[in-house]
């Protein structure tokens, strides 16, 4: 024993007792596997966090999952009903597309039906224009909305 340790020879003998303190038998057999298992759990929880960040954690929130299912089913049902109703109402229009008289007022239709050409007696308001909607807008709820323009004066403060 060197000079540095000499005054503490007895203490070092006593400290040797610490070396004999041992964890329960077999403790180290499973230690590393516990560490690796915890690493796997951490990795899995990290992946779950990413799923949560992306909003894909439905399985963690049953209420949200159920509500989403109902919403999707509802939208699907509305879509089916709407498409069914649309196909019924749009059928005459589709047939009308094949009939050129549908684009002209009744007087023009009669002229076409009688095999006559359009006469100059047709009033200008009866001639369909591309900017005038063909459908009748009198019953449309949007007909009540009349756009109005109003002059607005903006006052900008002086300076920058």
């Amino acid at each position: 024993m060197d000079k540095e340790n000499e005054p503490f020879e007895m203490l070092q003998k006593l400290l040797a007792l610490k070396k004999h303190e041992q964890p329960p038998p077999g403790y180290f057999h499973s230690f590393s596997s516990k560490v690796i298992a915890r690493l796997h759990v951490l990795e899995a929880s990290r992946a779950a966090t990413w799923r949560q960040r992306l909003g894909l954690d439905f399985d963690f929130k049953p209420a949200v999952m159920g509500a989403s299912g109902v919403l999707v089913c509802g939208l699907l049902l509305v879509g089916v009903i709407a498409s069914h109703g649309l196909s019924q109402t749009s059928t005459p229009n589709i047939t009308a597309l094949g009939d050129p008289s549908a684009f002209f007022p009744p007087s023009a239709g009669q002229a076409l039906a009688s095999g006559m050409a359009l006469t100059p007696t047709l009033r200008p308001e009866e001639i369909p224009a591309s900017t005038v909607p063909v459908s009748d807008t009198a019953n449309s709820p949007f007909a009540q909305l009349t756009p109005r323009s109003q002059r607005v004066g903006f006052v900008f403060p002086a300076g920058n």
């Binding site: 007792l17 610490k18 990795e43």
Partner: protein, 219 residues
């Protein structure tokens, strides 16, 4: 870091070194072997990391245990130290040995834990192994005190741990690493990130303190 589970690597990983030889310096072949395992672990090979853990688990656990004097705390902290080491493995450049690096993580974690715990000291000591009763030095210390050796040993163990806990964290650490685990001053300096002179002075002071606390048992 993505965890990779490749059974093929399991066979390639060499068995852990005999850990009973822990108090002495590192074996010469260890650094090369460690660097290979570290590289594979950095690529997410948990089998390679399992080997590294098995190689150093006893020494890391023992250091933490002697610092905390509590088996449960030592168990948690040792596991957390290895987990943290794995998570930080990408930043490990190999400037020091893996052993020193993981030791430093464990020591820092333990010191932080002890600072938080401060006055809530709760001993949970491990049992002494069979060899303790046959250790001639220990026998010499207690034989003239009491005929019931097993009781005297456990009492001595408690007094010793109590005295250790009276030391500051750095002084307890230097005694643990040098006098209990047998590390050299140089290795301790690397682990504690200080020069050898500081290690020596801390060791001297810590021993003086311990000698004073345990004077009744050292006559």
């Amino acid at each position: 870091m993505q965890i990779m589970s490749n059974p093929a690597t399991l066979k390639a990983a060499q068995p852990a070194l005999p850990l009973e030889e822990s108090p002495v310096s590192l074996p010469v072949t260890a650094p090369t072997e460690d660097s290979v395992l570290v590289k594979r672990s950095q690529q997410g090979d948990t089998f390679a990391y399992d080997d590294l853990v098995r190689r150093y688990q006893e020494r890391v656990y023992a250091t933490i245990y002697h610092m905390t004097a509590n088996h449960e705390d030592a168990n948690d902290l040792a596991q957390e130290a290895f987990i943290k080491a794995y998570q930080a493995l990408k930043s490990f450049k190999g400037d020091s040995s893996f052993y020193t690096w993981v030791y430093r993580i464990a020591v820092n974690k333990t010191i932080n834990f002890l600072k938080q715990r401060k006055n809530k000291i709760h001993l949970s000591l491990n049992d002494l192994d069979f060899n303790a009763e046959n250790d001639p030095d220990l026998v010499a210390l207690i034989s003239d005190k009491t005929p019931r050796r097993d009781i005297a040993l456990s009492e001595l163990q408690e007094k010793l741990n109590g005295a250790m806990l009276k030391l500051s964290e750095v002084h307890r650490l230097v005694v643990t690493l040098h006098d209990v685990q047998g590390l050299s001053h140089e290795e301790i300096g690397k682990i504690m990130d200080c020069n050898i002179g500081t290690v020596r002075s801390r060791l001297f002071y810590a021993r003086q303190q311990l000698q004073a606390y345990l004077s009744d048992y050292l006559k």
